[in-house]
């Protein structure tokens, strides 16, 4: 009899420990994420001083920029998922791709909306067709099309294959959005990271308070939020796939 087929109370101790540890990871991550969001808000709203030129609205930047990096991480996970699905045809990678794109999409919406709200008092407009903003809009529309594509293909295998390829191709818009402010002078979007040290230097031009607030929020919105939400979305999709399989089995009986 294999370990997997044993009732849980008869399973060897090491196996029980592993299961308990695995089930605890997500709740711990969730608590860490919630505490992190609270700490990030404290750093952005109370710890760091007010920008003398821009006023209080500048504080939105501590979520605006980390949200983009969170989207980058989640969309990056979708690229990994797509690549691995095409190589292995294992559905768990397709699930990762879907989850990553859904979470990345939400974070990209946070990024673009907070950017628009910041630009109203600072640039005196909600929107301008600046290369960075235009590319970000294009990026969001590209990922919106991913959901349309998934919903439009009937055959499950074809849908997964198309989604994997599309998820990888769409990532080019993320890269372009990221690098455009460093490759063109025709942009009014601020370059916070690596702005004065030359292309690709990535030195942070900020005072210690700003650096701390940005660092904490980068960890929260750039890592904890995308990882935790992607994990929950993967679990949800696994459950949906399981139910779909049972339904298909009942229909064929």
């Amino acid at each position: 009899m294999s370990i997997a087929s044993l009732p849980s109370d008869q399973a060897p101790v090491f196996e029980q420990k592993r299961t308990v540890n695995r089930t605890l990871v997500l709740p711990i991550l969730t608590v860490l994420t919630l505490l992190g969001v609270a700490a990030g808000l404290y750093f952005a709203l109370a710890y760091v001083g007010t920008d003398k030129v821009q006023g209080n609205v500048q504080r939105i930047f501590y979520i605006h920029m980390p949200a983009f990096f969170g989207a980058f991480v989640a969309f990056g996970a979708a690229v990994l998922g797509g690549f691995m699905y095409l190589r292995t045809r294992n559905t768990k990678w397709d699930t990762l791709g879907l989850a990553g794109i859904e979470v990345g999409f939400m974070l990209a919406l946070i990024n673009i909306t907070t950017g628009m709200i910041w630009s109203r008092p600072i640039w005196n407009t909600w929107w301008t067709w600046d290369p960075r903003l235009t590319l970000e809009a294009l990026m969001i529309l590209s990922y919106a099309a991913y959901f349309v594509l998934r919903a439009g293909v009937e055959n499950v295998e074809t849908r997964r294959r198309f989604a994997a390829v599309y998820g990888m191709l769409a990532f080019t818009t993320v890269i372009l959005t990221l690098v455009i402010v460093r490759t063109t002078a025709a942009t009014i979007h601020p370059v916070v990271v690596g702005g004065e040290s030359g292309e690709g230097a990535f030195s942070l031009n900020a005072t210690p308070g700003v650096g701390a607030a940005l660092g904490v929020n980068m960890l929260v919105w750039g890592v904890l939020v995308p990882v935790t939400l992607t994990w929950y979305r993967v679990r949800l999709q696994n459950r949906a796939e399981k139910i779909a399989a049972i339904k298909a089995e009942l229909l064929t009986k």
Binding site: K52, Q54, V57, A240
Partner: protein, 46 residues
Amino acid sequence: MTPENTAYLVLGLAAVAFFSVGYVVTLIVRAGNLRREEAKITRYRQ
């Protein structure tokens, strides 16, 4: 002089809450729907 634009900061935070909490709510609702569906199938099988 530092401009007074706290209202825009509040609007920005409201947008962050709208998208992030909204997404979490959709996850909870979808999980609930799947639970109900699973229960239905279990009843049907019995």
